[in-house]
Amino acid sequence: MWPLAITGRSLVTALGTGTNSLREALRARRGGLAPCGFPGAPDGIWVGAVQGLEGAAPPPALAGFDCRNNRLAELALRADGFEAAVAEARARHGADRVAVIVGTSTAGIEETERAHARRAPGETALPADFDYARTHDLQALANYLRARLGLAGPALVVSTACTSGARAIMQAATLIAGGLADAAVTGGVDSLCRLTLNGFNALELLSPGPTRPCAGDRDGISIGEAAGLLLLERPSDARPGAPLLLGAGASSDGHHMSSPHPDGLGAVGAMRAALAAAGFTPAEIGYVNLHGTGTRANDAMEDRAVHHVFGDAVPCSSTKGWIGHTLGASGAVEAILATLAIEDGLIPGCLGIEAPDPAFQARVATANTPAALKRVMSNSFGFGGSNCSLILGA
C-alpha cells in the first residue's frame, strides 16, 4: 500500500495563501500569529487568522455552502495549482475514481454561531435561510470540495479532533489500497469559531501571547485556522520526484478524554506503527515535526514519547509558533510543511524560544538548521486519545 505520491498540495494559513507563504516565513522565522479580534472570543489571546476570506465566496451554483470553513477550502482550491492538479487526475482516472477524504473538527459551525447571533431578541428558532446540511454538518466540507471539483467518487469526513487532517490522509491511502479510488483529495480544513476558542479557554489551555511550544515556561496554545489539501495517487501516476507519503500509523490512548497518557504510550504506538508501515528504522528519519501544541502536558508527553522512539539522535521541533494550532487541519498542514522542509533542506527550529525546556530529553531544535532531509515524521494527537503519525519523503 505504501508509498503514495503527492501529486498536488495546497496551503492556506495565517501566513497567507499558497505553500510559498509558509516556505518563506519558515526561512525568515517570521510568525503569523496576532492578537485575537474574533467576535465572541475570550479576551487576551492570540490566534492565527486567515486573511482574504471575504473574497473567497463559493461560485453562485454552490452558494448554499457559503461559510467560513468552505471559504477556507475555496482559497486552498485556488492556490498552488491545486484545482488544475485535480482536473488532471480526474481526466486520468475518471471522476468516479477520485475520492474526497478530508478532516475537520468543527466544519461550518461558525455559520451556526452567526445564525444564533442574528436572531431577533426573544426568537429561539434559527433563521429560515440557515443551511445546516451544507455548512454546520461535518459532511458539508467533503460535499463542497466534491461538487466544486466535479468529482463523483466516495466522500468521507473524518473528525477525530486534532488528528482529523492526518487521519483523513491515512484513510485516503487505505481507500486507494482497497481499490475504491485511484486518487484522493485529502487533508484538513478547520476554521476559527467561538466554540473552539471558548472551549480551549474553559480548559485553561490558551496562551496569553503567541504560543511557544517546547519552552520551559510555555503557557499554552494559540488557535489557528487553515486549509491543507493534498492529492494522493499511486507513484506510477506521478511525475518523477513528486513528494511521497511513505507510511502512516494510528493509535488510541484509551486513557483520558482530554489529557494525554503521561508517558505518551499512544503517541509511541502511532510513531512505531508509522515506521513499521513505511519500513524504516527511527535512525532513517531526519526530522520529527512535533504535534507540539505549547501546553504543559502535551509537550512534556511528546518529549518523552519521541525520546523513547528516537533517543536524542533525531532533531525535532514544533512549527505551531508560526501558524498556531490549526486543530483538524494541523495534521494536513504539517504534512505539507514536512514536504517543504525536505525540498528546502531545512529543519525549522521552534519559534520564539531560545532553548528548550531543560527537562526535555529529545533533541529539540530552536534555530533553523540546514539539513539534507530524506524522510520526515509528522505527529498529530487529539482529544478522545486519538494519535496519528505520518512519514513524508522525497
Binding site: A107, G178, N198, S258, G266, G385
Partner: protein, 262 residues
C-alpha cells in the same frame, strides 16, 4: 472495480422496539412482531465511575451497541470505526446556548465531550484499547460511510474492525433544521476470517442515488435516524438470507451490498 469483501461477526442493534441484538433478532427476521418503544441505553459498565458520570446519553447508546457486538472478542485489540451524522447534538446545543447567553460559560467537560470522536474516546478507555480508531460524519449517509471505511480498512489491514453507527435527536433549535426522531445505534464486527461468521458481505460503490424504496413499519425507522439506515442489512443478517441491498450514501451515489449467509 473489484468489490470489497469481509465477513460479519458479532452484531448489535439498539433502537425503538429493538433492545439489543439477541432480543431483536426474531423481530428483525420477521418472526416476531415489532412495535415502537423507545430503547434505553444502560450505563456503560466497562467505564470507571468518573468517565461513566461524564459520558452523555448519546455516548451510552454507542457504547452499549459496541459492547454487545464485541461479546467474545478481544476488545482491547480491535480497531474501531465510529460513524455518526450529528455527533453529540445535546452537548453542542448546550454549548451554543451557553455562549449566546450574557455571561454564559461552557464547561471543560462539555468541551471535551463535544469532539466528534467522544464516543470512540470513551470506548477505547472502556475497552482499555490502544488500537487505531476512526470517527466519521456523513449526514444521512453516515452508516454507508462507516461501512465503506471499515470494509476498506479490513481489506487493507486484514485486522477485524468494530463498526458502530449511532445518532440521537438534536435539541432545540437544531431539531428544526436537522430531523432525528429517536436514538439508534448499530454495531458489527467485520473481519477477513470466515470462522464463526454469520455472513459474507461484498460492497461496491455505485454512481447514482439509491432507487427509492417505499418503506413502512420497521424499515420506516430509516427516515428518522441516519444510523437506522443499517436496518435492511441487519434484517438480512437476522433472517440469514441472501440479499442484494442498495444502501443510500451520497446524493448521487449508493453502495451495492451483497449479503451471503455463511
Amino acid at each position: 472495480m473489484r468489490p470489497l469483501r469481509c465477513f460479519v461477526g458479532g452484531l448489535s442493534v439498539l433502537g425503538p422496539g429493538l433492545p439489543g441484538w439477541s432480543a431483536s433478532e426474531p423481530v428483525l427476521a420477521g418472526l416476531a412482531p415489532w412495535s415502537f418503544a423507545e430503547a434505553a441505553a444502560p450505563p456503560p459498565a466497562l467505564l470507571g465511575p468518573a468517565e461513566r458520570r461524564r459520558a452523555g446519553a448519546t455516548v451510552r447508546f454507542a457504547l452499549a451497541a459496541a459492547l454487545e457486538a464485541t461479546e467474545g472478542e478481544d476488545r482491547a485489540a480491535i480497531e474501531t470505526v465510529f460513524a455518526s451524522a450529528n455527533g453529540d447534538g445535546a452537548v453542542i446545543g448546550a454549548m451554543m446556548a451557553a455562549m449566546h447567553e450574557p455571561g454564559g460559560a461552557i464547561s471543560p467537560t462539555q468541551f471535551h465531550n463535544s469532539v466528534h470522536n467522544a464516543a470512540a474516546g470513551y470506548w477505547h478507555i472502556a475497552a482499555g484499547s490502544t488500537a487505531p480508531s476512526l470517527s466519521l460524519g456523513g449526514h444521512d449517509g453516515a452508516f454507508a460511510a462507516g461501512l465503506l471505511a471499515a470494509m476498506s480498512s479490513v481489506a487493507a489491514g486484514a485486522k477485524p474492525i468494530l463498526l458502530c453507527a449511532y445518532d440521537a435527536p438534536m435539541p432545540p433549535p437544531f431539531d428544526a433544521v436537522r430531523r432525528t426522531d429517536f436514538a439508534f445505534a448499530a454495531a458489527m464486527v467485520l473481519r477477513v476470517r470466515p470462522e464463526g461468521a454469520r455472513a459474507e458481505l461484498e460492497l461496491a460503490y455505485r454512481e447514482g442515488a439509491a432507487p427509492f424504496a417505499p418503506s413502512e413499519g420497521l424499515d420506516a425507522l430509516a427516515e428518522g435516524n441516519a444510523a437506522a439506515r443499517a436496518l435492511p442489512l441487519l434484517r438480512a443478517l437476522a433472517g440469514r438470507r441472501a440479499a442484494v441491498l442498495r444502501l443510500p450514501y451520497l446524493d448521487d451515489a449508493h453502495l451495492e451490498l451483497r449479503v451471503a449467509p455463511c
